[in-house]
Subunit: 213 residues, 2 copies
DNA sequence: TAGATTGTTAATCGATTAACAATC
DNA sequence: TAGATTGTTAATCGATTAACAATC
C-alpha cells in the first residue's frame, strides 16, 4: 500500500484496463480469478498484476485469488468513478459532437452539464438534450455551477484564450483534444491529452517499419 | 544509430511530439535550435532529446545545434509520413464521422479511400466526398484497392467479425477506436488503440487524487 | 492437511539523466 | 582560437520480472 502521490504513472495507466477486463469478467459471470489467469487474458505478467494491486492494498486471498466483483469495485473506487464530476464541453465541432454523443459519461461518474461554441449559428441547438451556448456565457455558467473539468474540442488557435479564462474561473482539470500544450503554461493543471494525430503518426511509423515475416 | 526493430516504444511515442514542435518552430521562422532550448519548450531533458535523435543517427552539429527544417524532415521520414498509405474506415457513427472529417490524413501521408457502415440507411451518403458503402462490399473493395490499414470506429460487439474478415483480406494495421482487443487474437497485427474511456478514467483518477495546494 | 495463490522482497532489465570528450 | 553544443559513455533511477515465504 502506497500513498496516492507515489503511485507511478505506469501503474495508473493500467488501471482503466483492469477495470474494463473486470467488468467483462463479471458480465461473463466469472466470480473469482487468479493473477495467472488474468495475466493470460490481459497480456500483463502475473507478477505485475499483483504488484499493481498491492500499490492499493491487497485485494486477494492466498490460495484463492481475487473476487471479480470486489476487485472491480475497488478499481472503480480507486479511479473515482463513483464520485460525481461535472464537466463542460468547449467546442461543438466534429470531435466535440462525437465525444458528447458517444461517451457514456454517467458510467464513469461524469455529468456533462453544458456545451459551448463560439459559432453563434449553433446557439440553441441541442446535443443529447444539452443546448449549445455561446462562449460569452462560460464565465457566468462556471460561477454558478462550478464544473470540475472542461473538455477541450476546439482549434489550437482558440485554445490559449479559453484555457486562460477557464483557469481563472477555477477549473483545474482538462480533457484536452486540442494540440495546445496546457501544461507548458499551467504546470499545476490536471491534464489528460488525447492527441489523435500523434496516435496516427505512431501507426504510420509502425506501418513503415513493419517486420515482414 | 540503432536498427529499426530495437527502437523502444518509449522513443517512438515521443517522435510525433518532436515532429509537431518542429513544425511549429519552422512556422515561427526559427532556423536552428539546440537540445537545451528544445528541452525548455518541450519539457523533455536535453539529454533525452539527444539520446532519442541518436537512435536514428546524429542530425546535429557540435557547437551549433540542429537545423529545424532538416530535423523536421528527418522526423517526417522516420515516421513514414511521406509514404502513401491507403486507409479505409469501418463505422460511420459519431466517432467515425468525426475522425473522417477532422483528421488531416493527407498531411501524414494517409489517403482515406473508402467508408463502410453496416447501416443500410447510410448507404450512398457522403463524408468529405467519400460515399458510405455497406459492409458487404468490404471484401471486393479490399481485393481491388489493397488498403494498408483500417480505422475501426464500430461497436465492440461488431468488431471481432469485421477484424477477422479484414485480416483474411490481408490488412495488417489497425487504428482501433473500439474496445475490442485485436492483439489478443492477432498478436502479429499492427495496432494503435485509441481508448477514449481509458483516457477519461485516468483523468477521473487524477481529479480524485488531486493534490490540494 | 495439501495445493494453490497471494503479498512481498530481491534480482533484473531498461529507460532516463549526468558527465564529458569530441568537434564544429 | 574560444565557446557552444553535440554524440556517446557511464551512472542512476525506476519499472518489471522472478522467487519464495506466508497463508488461505
Amino acid at each position: 500500500m502506497k500513498a496516492a502521490n507515489e503511485i507511478s504513472a505506469s501503474v495508473i495507466g493500467r488501471l482503466p484496463r483492469y477495470y474494463r477486463f473486470l467488468c467483462e469478467l463479471q458480465n461473463d459471470g466469472i466470480v473469482r480469478i487468479s493473477s495467472g489467469e488474468l495475466s493470460k487474458r490481459m497480456g500483463f505478467t502475473a507478477s505485475q498484476i499483483r504488484q499493481d494491486f498491492n500499490c492499493f492494498g491487497g485485494f486477494g486471498q492466498q490460495g484463492y485469488g481475487y473476487n471479480v466483483e470486489q476487485l472491480k469495485n475497488e478499481m472503480a473506487s480507486i479511479l473515482g468513478l463513483s464520485t460525481l464530476k461535472q464537466a463542460i464541453l468547449i467546442g461543438a465541432g466534429n470531435m466535440g459532437r462525437a465525444v458528447a454523443r458517444q461517451m457514456n459519461f454517467a458510467e464513469m461518474g461524469f455529468r456533462l452539464s453544458a456545451i459551448f461554441d463560439c459559432d453563434k449559428n449553433l446557439e440553441g441547438l441541442k446535443i443529447k438534450g444539452i443546448p449549445i451556448r455561446p462562449n460569452s456565457q462560460i464565465a457566468e455558467f462556471c460561477a454558478e455551477h462550478r464544473p470540475d473539468m472542461a473538455i477541450l474540442c476546439l482549434p489550437q488557435n482558440q485554445a490559449p484564450e479559453v484555457v486562460d479564462e477557464l483557469v481563472l474561473l477555477g477549473i483545474e482539470s482538462f480533457w484536452n483534444f486540442s494540440h495546445y500544450d496546457i501544461h507548458a503554461k499551467y504546470p499545476a493543471a490536471n491534464v489528460e491529452n488525447v492527441h489523435l494525430s500523434d496516435s496516427l503518426m505512431t501507426l504510420s511509423y509502425k506501418i513503415k517499419n513493419r517486420e515482414n515475416r
